[in-house]
């Protein structure tokens, strides 16, 4: 399909421009802050000479444009600089913590779609009925609390009072799994340790739900609104007059077109989830990017902050390109011009 190649190419190009913009934005914020990063890194007892040396090493004395040039040059060579906090390359740090966060976010995203869309469809199908109101209240409640509050509530209910799920962590300590991908669900399968897979999965459920709850509410509300709009279209009326069953109309004619706007929003929700993962990870002691991110922010570790934000934004952009491709796959009518917003 040549058209989808053109779509993909145009989207990639726009995403690339946006990514450059993100790097400029975050780089500027990082460089205009008060305080000398070299002095912060070395501590108050360092000699003036040591500070000056580090400043020269980090090119801090050059103009901001030259500094940005160095930054991009290094970035293209896969070098995000050294973290002043861990004294290791930033890319190595992020590579170590990112998989745990991504695993959590992907599972949460799956839960959001698997529960949110059907809920919205049911609400639209029984519009104005009792079940519609119940779903409306539930989805509003879902969006009404930050994910750390849901995390605390779920933890209290299902780990403390009803000890069904583990309280914290990614996997029981007794399992040692060779890290291949960093995704425990995959690594345990690769190692053939099915009990460890079950254990890691069990650890994922509460944090993923806490993260997914607000997304479920949003997805449900949106799907409901879109489906109600679709129900008013003439072709649904036609299907009804032909005597198709209500079930078939709902699942076949009304649901699919309503998916498209929902999916765009789900792509955006993914960004929120990447951010909210920080909150959920803090509650469940999840060894992801959260602790690292907060630590480097509190220490004004410039390279690490810029790197973390850049990697998170890149992940988000990639997910959105995938979402766009899926949309093009679902609806062949969708062309680039109508989706530019």
């Amino acid at each position: 399909m040549p058209t989808s190649f053109i779509i993909l190419f145009k989207r990639l190009f726009t995403s690339f421009i946006v990514l450059i913009g993100v790097s400029m934005l975050i780089f500027t914020i990082a460089r205009i802050i008060p305080g000398d990063p070299a002095r912060i890194a070395l501590g108050p007892n360092a000699t003036l000479e040591a500070v000056a040396n580090l400043r020269a090493n980090l090119h801090l004395d050059e103009s901001i444009i030259v500094q940005y040039g160095y930054f991009i040059w290094n970035l293209l060579h896969g070098d995000l600089g050294i973290s002043l906090y861990t004294n290791r390359p930033v890319l190595l740090d992020i590579g170590q913590f990112l998989p745990a966060t991504l695993e959590l976010v992907f599972v949460a995203g799956f839960i959001m779609v698997a529960i949110g869309l059907p809920l919205g469809a049911i609400a639209a199908r029984y519009r104005g009925k009792f079940i519609d109101h119940v779903i409306r209240i539930l989805s509003l409640l879902g969006v009404s609390a930050p994910s750390f509050v849901w995390a605390v509530i779920l933890m209290l209910m299902f780990a403390f009072y009803l000890p069904i799920f583990p309280i914290a962590g990614r996997i029981t300590d007794s399992y040692t799994i060779q890290a291949v991908t960093g995704f425990l669900l995959l690594d345990t399968l690769i190692a053939g340790e099915y009990r460890a897979f079950g254990d890691a999965f069990w650890h994922l459920i509460l944090p993923a739900f806490a993260l997914a709850l607000s997304g479920i509410g949003q997805a449900a509300r949106l799907t409901r609104a879109n489906m109600i709009e679709t129900y008013d279209k003439p072709y649904i009326e036609m299907a009804q007059s032909y005597g198709f069953s209500e079930k078939r109309i709902a699942s076949k004619f009304a649901f699919k077109p309503s998916l498209i706007p929902s999916m765009t929003i789900i792509g955006l929700d993914f960004a929120a989830m990447l951010g909210n993962a920080f909150l959920v990870e803090a509650v469940f002691a999840w060894p992801g990017l959260s602790r690292y991110g907060v630590a480097v922010i509190l220490r004004k570790d410039l390279n690490a902050i810029v790197g973390t934000v850049l990697v998170i934004s890149a992940t988000f952009l990639i997910v959105n390109i995938i979402v766009d491709l899926l949309i093009a796959f679902i609806n062949p009518r969708i062309r680039f011009s109508t989706r530019r917003s």
Binding site: V18, G21, L141, S144, V152, G275
Partner: protein, 276 residues
């Protein structure tokens, strides 16, 4: 207007929402008179009554240094609402103006403005606010700034989509033909038609600003102690679960109640005003 108020008052859910919002606003404004222990909003220590489960006169218990949690929640509401007013009164005018210009002008202006918006939208809101907050000093003013910087693009996107479809309407064409200036068309013709959507979003966003501000302070990057804040209260109590559950559960529920109220009203407004 009368019709809108009537519809809002006749639906039990939006009535509940109005009640919750009014309650939160009254608590925040009259905090000094309502809070049983107004002095507990600051750095007060009472080691006789520390970490107490809910009992009279501490209806929501006391925290680790003996301060009344109910009083602190009330004062935290006051700061949350101030934050909401501050953020929206800066972010909305900026975002709306950008959206109007991009939507009406089209062409290169549109491309540039919308790509800038995309840049801000593709950094997760919380992460953007966190990095700004972390790089500046974590004070209340900086917190407000950080949240404002991430808020305006949503309004740009919203208004842009409306403006783009409105500019094809007959009334805009008519205004162009009689020679109205661009400023007139943008602000006097198109803007009024965006207002229902903007008002709805602002109501919902009041809740979401409270949410994001509490998230920031939950991570230790927001309002600093001893100023009471719902997020940092939850964070401070989380290590004492499940024994001292009141330390986290009540502040957590306080966030839920306030945001739920704004969401109910916003949702009802969306239905009544027909805004998306």
């Amino acid at each position: 207007m009368k019709r809108i108020i009537f519809i809002l008052l006749s639906n039990p859910l939006s009535l509940l929402g109005l009640f919750l919002v009014t309650l939160v606003i009254i608590l925040a404004i009259f905090a000094d008179f309502i809070a049983p222990f107004p002095e507990h909003r600051g750095a007060v220590v009472d080691f006789v009554n520390f970490n107490k489960a809910p009992e009279w006169p501490y209806i929501m218990g006391t925290d680790l240094v003996g301060r009344d949690i109910f009083s602190r929640i009330i004062y935290a509401y006051r700061i949350s609402l101030l934050l909401g007013v501050f953020v929206l009164s800066i972010a909305v005018p900026i975002g709306v103006t950008m959206g109007l210009i991009a939507g009406y002008m089209g062409g290169k202006t549109e491309y540039i403005l919308m790509r800038i918006t995309d840049v801000f939208l593709s950094i997760p809101p919380l992460v953007l606010a966190m990095s700004i907050m972390g790089l500046l000093e974590p004070t209340l003013i900086n917190g407000m700034l950080a949240v404002t910087v991430m808020w305006w693009p949503w309004y740009t996107r919203l208004v842009y989509n409306i403006a783009r479809s409105e500019k094809e309407e007959g009334y805009v064409l008519a205004a162009e033909i009689i020679g109205a200036s661009k400023t007139h068309i943008i602000f006097r013709e198109i803007l009024p038609n965006c207002l229902p959507a903007i008002v709805t979003k602002m109501t919902l966003d009041f809740g979401f600003v409270i949410l994001i501000a509490s998230s920031l302070s939950f991570l230790g990057l927001g309002v600093q102690p001893p100023t009471p804040d719902l997020g940092s209260m939850v964070a401070g109590g989380a290590t004492y679960l499940p024994d001292s559950w009141w330390l986290t559960v009540f502040p957590g529920l306080a966030i839920l109640v306030a945001v739920f109220g704004f969401n109910l009203v916003g949702d009802a407004l969306r239905d009544v005003l027909g805004a998306d």
